[in-house]
Symmetry: D2
Subunit: 358 residues, 4 copies
């Protein structure tokens, strides 16, 4: 089974290459009667655009999304929603030189190993550009969740070694708005400033940065998630790890808990509810009604100007300096992508739970 579909009841399939004609997504299983138009999707897509503080000479894509099916007179009809985003500013010429050379940290070599052929233009299917289709699909999921009062918010927790200070973090009520206007989607203005300076430095050095995205889900009902293998945390981990740059996923205080004791890690309860939320809102793979908290650890952008050693498809050694239109850090662009993936998983489990619940 090829892997371009995620979800069982709310299913998302994406297609398209970085320098092909277009990208797109199909959402199959969205219930009928949901208000939907293109502007709902466009708003999220615009948030995925290159940020001036992070990108240098970025490719100029409007990422204008068009709905081709599944919506009639402003409402979903229950049939597949097909969305398309045409590529308008693809310039493959800068990739000509890299046609046979494997860029370190990229899928160039593994796509060739897997398929015996690869579309070398702009990373082909492995390009981060594919995530535009996810964001479009995620916007539909997000509208569906909103109907049930749920809200998914992702933001920058760290870029390079600079982390947000939670004591300075914007208050929960305004969080959603704050992290949407801020150019780094960062809820701590002081940290954001330091991050911008760091990015500028690193750009001058021809290098790149990684970071951490934190995602929270408010007002998620208890009971979502399907033991044993489709636990809510398992499906969220898969969804986030399916984003190219993400190399670790953490639920609640996952990493810290591994070094702690049961008396510290357990979330005790009194009649008013849980006293803590180390579990990140998920117990035994099922949501418990608390806020869901997740973290996606992203590796640095692999395309850097600094010289690197590599080989080409005939095994010949090269030193390459990758110039052209690249970001310095995958954050903040990846933030709405994480939000989309979490929304898709939640929408799927919301429908799955409805099926078995009286």
């Amino acid at each position: 089974m090829a892997g371009n579909t995620i979800g069982s009841m709310f299913r998302v399939t994406t297609w398209g290459e970085s320098h092909g004609k277009a990208l797109g997504a199909i959402v199959d299983g969205c219930p009928a009667g949901l208000d939907l138009d293109e502007s709902d999707l466009q708003e999220d897509l615009d948030r995925r655009k290159p940020s001036p503080s992070v990108s240098s000479t970025a490719r100029n894509e409007r990422d204008s999304v068009e709905i081709l099916s599944g919506v009639f007179e402003g409402k979903t009809t229950g049939t597949p929603i097909s969305m398309i985003i045409y590529n308008v500013d693809a310039d493959s010429s800068s990739y000509d030189a890299l046609k046979d050379v494997f860029r370190p940290g990229q899928g160039d070599i593994t796509y060739l190993q897997k398929y015996g052929i690869r579309d070398w233009r702009g990373g082909g299917r492995a390009s981060g550009r594919e995530t535009a289709a996810r964001v479009a699909a995620g916007a539909i999921a997000s509208k569906l969740l909103a109907q049930s009062g749920m809200e998914v918010i992702a933001y920058t927790q760290a870029i390079g070694s600079i982390e947000i200070d939670r004591s300075r973090m914007t208050d929960p009520k305004s969080l959603r708005n704050v992290v949407r206007v801020n150019s780094l989607f960062c809820p701590d203005a002081q940290a954001a400033k330091a991050m911008e300076e760091n990015i500028a430095d690193v750009r001058n050095q021809g290098d790149s940065l990684g970071g951490v995205v934190e995602i929270i889900v408010n007002h998620c009902p208890a009971g979502l998630g399907e033991p044993i293998f489709d636990k809510m945390d398992a499906d969220l981990a898969k969804a986030l790890m399916s984003i190219g740059s993400v190399k670790a996923v953490e639920i609640g205080d996952g990493v810290a808990m591994s070094g702690s004791r049961g008396s510290q890690a357990n979330d005790q309860m009194d009649k008013k509810g849980y006293l803590t939320n180390h579990a990140g809102g998920i117990l035994a793979g099922i949501t418990n009604g608390q806020q869901i908290v997740l973290r996606a650890y992203c590796k640095p952008i692999p395309s850097i100007a600094k010289p690197q050693r590599t080989i080409d498809s005939r095994g010949k050694e090269h030193r390459i300096e990758i110039r052209g239109r690249h970001d310095i850090c995958v954050l903040p662009r990846i933030v709405p992508v994480c939000e989309a993936m979490v929304s898709i998983v939640l929408a799927d489990h919301l429908l799955r739970q409805k099926a078995i619940n009286e």
Copy 2:
């Protein structure tokens, strides 16, 4: 879709409750002609048994596995392999008192929230006992991988705050054997000793510990993993996160890479191969032929003797002290479970790749 099945070509379904009649697994999709008998499975199941250093008065289960179908004259036939493990030492009496009380950190409350009913005996379906069925299925996956020369080895990297020292770690060639005989499945004898002491201390304090399992895969061919959503790392993350105690999953140097730079994180190549392996053997979701390296971060066992605050199903507050047959730490018992889950995912992707590869 209920979530008791994992895999698309090599599919594993588990069933059974902690104090029900039996547990079991079905493996569907195992190719015909593989040599298989019950002793192949039993060996791995025996490794999952309570370790004297970690468990106190553990339930005494032989975990004797029986193959009911799919094997004829010592070979798999291509039809579903059904395996059963009868529960022989279930004692539900100690759970009577906990029938209506939610144990902190356990799925008691969320199963009830999800299903409106729960089998309260020994954690029911949410019990770690379910993993015995995974280990039986994983042993079949492991035999299939061995046919292609692959080997999955899991071991204890940390218990509580005590980590192994990689400079003291046993050499790669003997690793598999060393971590199998060692009572904590720990490749650093000195750390193992400290871990045992720590476990003893914590037991005396009526508390419990978490830890980290590291899993490596040797000789995995390049090309396994299905972009976009069924990336190898995404499927591995899901599989590990589906284990009850696991709350974070890391591929290669995932967490550390988020704080590093591209020039440090990229694995450069020369004609002899990769110079480093920060990516943990997976690039763009596809294996690259290097060693796969993964880490599963496990929370402490939630059942502790120390008093905890909680409520019952009517909202009444309680202070509970959980005694009875519990481990102090989920490691080392979870180590073969992680090995099983990784083996299942790899076997699945091995078959998926064969389907599209000439």
Copy 3:
């Protein structure tokens, strides 16, 4: 993907060989809170037992089913329901002679062609005995449907060239009871008598018979079925055709409609409802609230005493006369199997529709 599972929300997996230790089924996705005990399943299994009028020296299997998981205190818990039926009267000795010889009309040759190995004892996995597991699973589906007021009734429409006369057919209200007591599950007593005589004749000639099962569904709500590919009729056709003997499936007046005109085939409506039901209760793949009507055309039992030409696995020619424990006609034993398969598909679509319906 191996094919031993059917359904997406209400999923049934079967396993087991004719002469293996046991057979079984897992039902995953059954909602929690359904009253269920073994006697519910046993009743349907007993209807699948050999009928004295059709079988000669049938294998004597009690087909005693045991529930191993998923039920607690008489109610389903939402976790997988594992059912097992031990084989107690398997006698492989009569198959020794057929070990290498391909019985005409059986899967002996194709299983070997597919898997390179086969369990030759009693047909192995291809045996009609596998359908016992389907009937057990179908009984659960049937209970779920009954909660929504639905009822599935299958009966014998034809055996060999003898068909029921609809004018003599028992009245709808007593249909369910009548076809359950009758030894051929035939709703026309006169036809049943002729069928029994025919069966006796054919047995004396060392030959066998085919027949037609008709299945109706009462009180099915409108709206079930998922365009485009998972249309209700498409999923029903697959489910029925997955029964070994079934070689054609018809919805409503399917075959006759192909030779008719639109003015005859369309089901017109007035305010009281549909004037006819040529469509068999399904329009554009979605149930319309009318009675669902289906037909499964079954080939004759391939194992016959009359001499037949065949070859063995080395290509050597043989003439074989198959004696031993065989039925003369797959009806009536297949009738409850058809009922089970239709129930499973409907239960699945009932849950699927709940997921998307407010």
Copy 4:
């Protein structure tokens, strides 16, 4: 799970409404390296166009297909192949009057019952126009099968009560070419002439006709099909029954065999092979290397000029005469659709078998 996807390894998803912007299909799982360009698809799409002898004032759609992804330099890359067909001649005005009225025999009422909303323009998603997307996907499957020497040929066996005479049928070697040029895709020229006359008559009477499509598969290797539920015949039945007009599916001599005896129905063998092919090339759900033979029974086109009784969405009674752009018979246009569906199922099973076969 919504039902717009078919297949597990070779997966086809279709989307689009009759009068929406466009229709399309995604093929996911096609192996890399297959030669493919748009003309390969266009040829099959052209065969699905209205035939002058059957259609009156048909909608004039070029059905021009564009490949948007998954093909690079003339070869498939292993990534999803997205295809789009823009609607250019949709005229919804004639449907205005039918906005609230349920056309007999159409999905108007059931789509509303299922979703609570419907796109009434031209039948929306339930329109036969959706099958254009299937044909495009089927053309890719067909190319994949051709690589393994397989060939799928569908043709008209009957229109209304006029059947082909097999003694007059064109010889096997030229069959593929003959049925492609012939305007009714009918392999018996004399029957074709009678069919054309019949169609003209029926058109004058404001009525419509059904018919039967026969599909054969040459050179299919033995061993394809996955017991138990995904038997080859089960999956083929589902695929054909998922076409709107098809109401019965038959494998080999399925209907006739139900009235026959084992000694007649079994396909005996000698060392040169099978002596007959009543089973239609499939034994126990697995292909046996003989020619696969299938039949799809199609109901008459429901849209007819003759007055019919019906109701509208408020339950008010109407008499309607449906004029506009309709065919008289779903054959021959459905012939390439049947060919496509059979090709898709075979391609899927070909890959599934490769996965488990050494």
